[in-house]
Every structure is written in structure tokens, then in C-alpha cells.
Amino acid sequence: MWKFFHKLASPPHFYRLAAVFVPWLAVPAVALIGYGVYAGLFLAPMDYQQGDAFRIIYVHVPSAYLSIMAYMIMAVSGGIGLIWRMKLAHAVAAAAAPLGAAFTFLALVTGSIWGRPMWGTWWEWGDPRLTSELILLFLYFGYMALRSAIDDTAKADKASAVLALVGVVNVVIVHFSVEWWSSLHQGQTLMKEGGPAMDPGMLYPLLAMILGFTFLFGSLLLRRVRTEVLFRERRTRWVREMILSPEGS
């Protein structure tokens, strides 16, 4: 068991292993998202209140969930890198940040487009989730800015890991304080806590989309980590040998 982890932490081993995993994640992702898009847009019944506008949920909810997930991955792998000095974990954190920011942005844009027919406005400060998501996006920006400001990779890894860990504590506080704040200002949200019971015809495509987005994220993350590993190890012998070998790849 431990041997597996130690091997996993070695960059050349990980580089080869990840290449095996990428298609195994990408194929289910395409299949699930394909089914989810078709079933969500054409088969799912119309919402009795929101009409067809609710269908953006099939992009919005998976992106919002991944925006948090990516931050957690970033912070946890940053913590692993700090505590056990595992270089690979830092590479994972570095690769996860732009992906997480992209999903956060997607969640914000789809939320705003959804808000237009529902609330009659592109942006509703009264909705706590939209505001928390915006702060999360700023946290991602700060993280990436700190990373790019430090030239030394090892130093950038550790400093940004500290920031990500501080940010995790803060994400929880942001969530509760924004909720308190919006309850003061009468947020006019149509969506209820927990959400109304969903028709299975609506629910299954959503679950498929959530799962599909997770697989998509996993395969994108692995691809990015591979690139990151290759870049960080560019001066080592295994990279040089691999590039010079006739098979390439």
C-alpha cells in the first residue's frame, strides 16, 4: 500500500500512470455529458414555474460544485505538499487553480444568465450564493497572482499553499457571513433551501451532468498535472531521455 504511494509520488511514474488514466476519465465524461445535455435539454419536462429557463441548471450546478471541489483539492494537496514535502502535490495544486477559477467563472456567468429571467436582473447582490461565488473567484485570483509573483517554484508552492489553507477557513466564514448579510437585506431568491423535490426526469440528467463534469475535471486536471510535471522536471534526465527516445510521447 505505502509502496504504491511512494511510487505515485515519483514524477516519471506518475507521468506514465496519468497518461493511462486520462482516456478512462475522458470517455465517461463525454458519454455522461452527452447524455446529460440531450436528456436535460430535450427529454426533461418543463418546470411549472420557471419554464424552459431552469434548464441552465444542467451547467450551473455542476460548475458551482466543481468550483468548491477544485478549491478543496488545491488546499488539501497544498497542505500535503507542505507537511510531507511531496513535490507532486504542489504540482496538483498549481494545476487545479486555473481550472477551479474557470469553473467558478462559468458558475457565475450561468448564474447571472439564469438570474435574468428569474429575478429580472443580471446580478442580484441579495443572493448569498452568487456573492460567495464571486468572493471565491477573487480568492482564486489572489492565489494565482501570488504564485506568478514568486519566481522560485519551490517558494511559490509553499507560499501559495499557506494562502490556500487560510482561504479554506475563510470560505466557510464567507458562506455564513454572506448568508447572514443577505437575510438582512431581503434576498429575493426563488430557489429554496434544499430545493423542491425534483421530478426524476429532471434529476437524472442533472446527476449525469454532475458526474460527467467531475470526470471531465479529473481528466483535465491529470492532463494539466502531466504538463506541469514535465515543465518542472524539464532539466532532469528522464524527461530528456523520454523526449530523445524514438517513441517520443
Binding site: 507542505l82 468572493i135 477573487f138 480568492l139 485570483f141 489572489g142 497572482a145 501570488l146 509573483a149 514568486i150 519551490a154 517558494k155 509553499k158 507560499a159 499557506v162 494562502l163 489553507l165 487560510v166 482561504g167 477557513v169 475563510n170 466564514i173 464567507v174 457571513s177 454572506v178 447572514w180 448579510w181 438582512l184
Partner: protein, 232 residues
């Protein structure tokens, strides 16, 4: 290891020595303390000029403006928290000292709060009056600012430690700290607004107090870790 270990002063003397040194430095260069205060006053002046002198409007936006100005002026002074020590090498002395680094970092943060947060709290009533804040609300505002600036100084010390020695540190520091500071701003400004509207505001005060205590107990460790990383 045959020699007996030298007698090391207790952690409180370490804390006090660091704080005292920074306070003394601030006393010798009063500009560093006064500039953020002037900045605070000027930002508060900008809003009436931009929005217009309507009394109702000013009364309405007052708590928010004062809080945003306090946050910005704290940010302004944070950049120099570790910078001077980094440049003249005394930061290295702190790092190699046998005292626990979190305590020394706390000492520096304490001095920062005493020279930036506390003066802000004391000056704020003057500005609040220009925003027509009722006299009954002023103590609430001072209390929220008192608790809030403690949290801001502590949060800011993490950011200052992470960015010490980096070029273009100031803009980066704001980018790092502002998202972290948003809950403090939100709690502080809205608590004052609630008090101004004769509403129940105790929830906000308790939450700010909890935030201050939590950051007091956690932030020094993050600051110490960040200082070690920045000075490798």
C-alpha cells in the same frame, strides 16, 4: 551538549520586546502612523463630494463608507509591517531567535494594530459626525471597528509575510487580503447599519468578536509559516 542551556527569557518578554521596538520605531517616524489616518479621512471626504451633500443619503451610506475607508487604510499600512525588518536584516534575527516565531509575529502585529487600528478607532467618531451618525450609534461603530481592525491586522500580517521581499508587493497584498477581509467588512458595516436603524445588532458584534478571537489564535501560526517560507 555538555554545556547547560543558556537562560532564555519567557515568551511574554519576547512578545513585549518585539512590540516595544516597533512602537519605538513608529514614535520616531510619526509620518508612518499619520499617513494612513489622513488617507482614512480623505477617503471619507471623497464620498460626499462624489455623491452630493444630501443628509439622508450620507446618513444611509455612512457606516459602509467608514468601514471601507478603514479597511483600505489598514491595507495601506500593512505593506511596511515586515518590509523594514526584511531590508535591514532584523527579520533574519527574529527567525533565528530561540523565541517561538508565532509569538514574535504576534508582537509585531500587536504593534501594527496599536499604531494603525487603534488610532483609526479613536478618529472615527469625528468622521462619523460629519456623516450625521446618531450619537447612540457611535459607540457601536467604535466597538465594531475595534474588533474588526484586530482581525484585519492579523489577517493582513499573513499577507504581509507572504509578500515580503516581492516586487510589486503592494498591489499583490491587496489582492490577497481583500477577499479574506470581506467577511469582516460585511459584518462590521452591516452591524453599524443595523444599530443606526434601531435594529438588534448584537449578532454582528458577537460574530466580529468571534472572528477576532479566532484570528488571534490562528493567524500568528500562518504568519510565522509564511515568514519562514519567504525568507528561505
Amino acid at each position: 551538549m555538555s554545556e547547560p542551556a543558556p537562560q532564555i527569557p519567557g515568551i511574554f518578554s519576547g512578545l513585549w520586546a518585539t512590540a516595544r521596538r516597533d512602537l519605538l520605531l513608529a514614535w520616531k517616524r510619526p509620518g508612518d502612523v499619520l499617513n494612513p489616518l489622513f488617507f482614512f479621512a480623505m477617503v471619507c471626504t471623497l464620498f460626499p463630494l462624489a455623491i452630493g451633500p444630501s443628509a439622508e443619503q450620507l446618513e444611509f451610506i455612512g457606516p459602509g463608507v467608514l468601514w471601507v475607508a478603514a479597511l483600505l487604510s489598514t491595507l495601506l499600512s500593512l505593506n511596511s509591517l515586515f518590509l523594514g525588518d526584511f531590508e535591514d536584516g532584523s527579520l533574519d534575527q527574529l527567525l533565528v531567535s530561540p523565541q517561538p516565531l508565532p509569538v514574535l509575529a504576534l508582537g509585531k502585529t500587536l504593534a501594527h494594530w496599536l499604531t494603525s487600528g487603534l488610532p483609526l478607532v479613536l478618529v472615527s467618531p469625528i468622521l462619523a459626525v460629519t456623516y450625521r451618525m446618531p450619537a447612540s450609534v457611535v459607540p457601536v461603530m467604535m466597538l465594531t471597528l475595534l474588533l474588526g481592525t484586530i482581525s484585519l491586522s492579523l489577517l493582513g500580517s499573513i499577507g504581509a509575510a507572504l509578500t515580503v521581499g516581492l516586487h510589486r508587493g503592494t498591489a499583490l497584498l491587496s489582492l490577497l487580503i481583500l477577499p479574506l477581509a470581506m467577511p469582516v467588512l460585511l459584518l462590521g458595516a452591516n452591524t453599524v447599519s443595523l444599530a443606526a436603524g434601531n435594529d438588534i445588532y448584537t449578532t454582528g458584534v458577537w460574530a466580529l468578536g468571534a472572528y477576532a478571537i479566532a484570528s488571534l489564535s490562528l493567524a500568528p501560526y500562518a504568519t510565522a509559516a509564511a515568514l519562514r517560507i519567504s525568507n528561505e
